[in-house]
């Protein structure tokens, strides 16, 4: 779901960059610097997830894992995703430097939003914890497809066909990420609950 360089109009790019900068600022305030390594490791997970390809009919999509970052990191997902996207742009040539801000916002904003939406569920017992984390994983990708098609629409593409295509291609990705996020979250809350301080607090 990386948007390439040269597709979007300047106002869209600039507003994306501004929004992303705001998110990164919030993120840097919220980062628990004693656990900076777990932020880096989740960044690394996001970074390589883009290489895990899910075949969907004739097309293909890759994992994103933004929901997982949201559920573990909260606001810190912003800087974490930003750095991972920067490395993807530089090393893999996915996306590009001018679209970095908008791509960051498209991936990170749903992660943070889902984190707040499902936080009550995540705090409860085992069953609803898994369900909550599943929803975060699933919905974060869904919202990213909406944001991405929205950005494309603002630059000339028709919204509905683009959104529909992105949604269909990413359906299996949403399901996989929901399950992955559910399991990882349940696992972490059992063996290392202190890392999920943001949720428990």
């Amino acid at each position: 779901m990386h948007i390439s360089e040269g597709v979007l109009s300047a106002p869209v790019l600039v507003s994306g960059a501004v929004l992303a900068a705001g998110g990164i600022g919030m993120g840097l305030k919220h980062v628990d610097y004693d656990r900076i390594m777990s932020v880096a490791i989740l960044s690394a997970a996001f970074f390589v997830a883009s290489l895990v390809h899910v075949p969907v009919g004739v097309s293909s999509a890759h994992l994103i894992l933004n929901g997982l970052l949201g559920v573990v990191l909260g606001w810190a997902a912003f800087p974490s995703i930003f750095v991972a996207l920067l490395l993807q742009a530089v090393l893999f040539q996915y996306g590009g430097l001018t679209v970095l801000g908008l791509n960051t916002f498209n991936m990170a904003a749903p992660a943070v939003l889902c984190f707040y939406l499902f936080r009550p569920m995540l705090r409860r017992g085992n069953g609803s914890r898994f369900a909550g984390a599943f929803c975060v994983g699933f919905l974060a990708v869904l919202m990213s497809t909406v944001l991405t098609s929205g950005a494309l629409a603002l630059s000339g593409d028709e919204f509905l066909p683009a959104a529909k295509a992105l949604f269909l291609v990413h359906l299996p990705v949403m399901a996989i990420e929901g399950v992955v996020t559910g399991f990882v979250y349940s696992f972490l809350s059992r063996v290392k609950p202190e890392i999920l301080k943001g949720v428990a607090a």
Binding site: L8, S43, H53
Partner: protein, 197 residues
């Protein structure tokens, strides 16, 4: 916590050993005679099928012609006379939908170097042996044309190879570099924080 997350990371890295396709899109174009071949792909094996390619004048941005890639992600067109006349640099823009776009520029010097298109010249072979020896200038021209034709043929596979290399997927090197950067950045932040305390 770090120890506990490592199995997850290893799992992800293992997934890499399977052919990984991701959504970067590439276009690579080369000139053969008076035809331009464009190769478009998301990766080496995953080609852009039915993506639209627009050929623009690189200076003015005027669209000269447009086309659609076939099942192998290739699109070929003969260089328009207009481009030749105005000595345009050609910009090829690939639009593979859903925000995937890539560009490639072919400069005038790449296709307009010779006096005339090579392929057309070869259509009228000249009997070298029938030429009078004193007509050295003519002979030189004939040899030049022949050599040019052979060189174009010989170089074609090389150009294809370069096109394929251009579509290379990210490998272990890039992944390792990315991990290194991330750990490094985290390390620097941790160090700066610890000095503040």
């Amino acid at each position: 916590m770090i120890k506990r997350l490592f199995p997850l990371l290893f799992l992800l890295v293992f997934c890499l050993s399977a052919p990984a396709h991701a959504h970067k899109v590439n276009i690579f174009a080369y000139v053969e005679g008076d035809t331009v071949h464009a190769e478009c792909g998301f990766s080496k094996t995953k080609r852009v099928q039915g993506g639209s390619v627009h050929v623009l004048d690189a200076e003015t941005g005027a669209v000269l012609l447009s086309g659609v890639t076939d099942d192998n992600g290739s699109f070929s067109f003969s260089i328009p006379q207009e481009a030749r006349d105005k000595k345009m640099n050609l910009r090829l823009v690939l639009d593979a939908s859903q925000g995937h776009r890539s560009e490639w520029v072919i400069e005038y010097s790449e296709y307009g170097g010779g006096d005339e298109p090579v392929v057309e010249e070869s259509a009228a072979p000249v009997e070298v042996s029938s030429l009078p020896v004193e007509n050295a200038e003519k002979l030189e021209n004939v040899v030049r044309r022949a050599v040019k034709k052979v060189v174009v043929e010989e170089v074609a596979p090389l150009k294809k190879m370069i096109a394929e290399m251009h579509n290379e997927d990210p490998g272990l090197k890039e992944v390792a570099a990315g991990f290194g950067y991330l750990i490094g950045i985290a390390g620097i932040i941790a160090y700066l924080r610890s000095r503040k305390k």
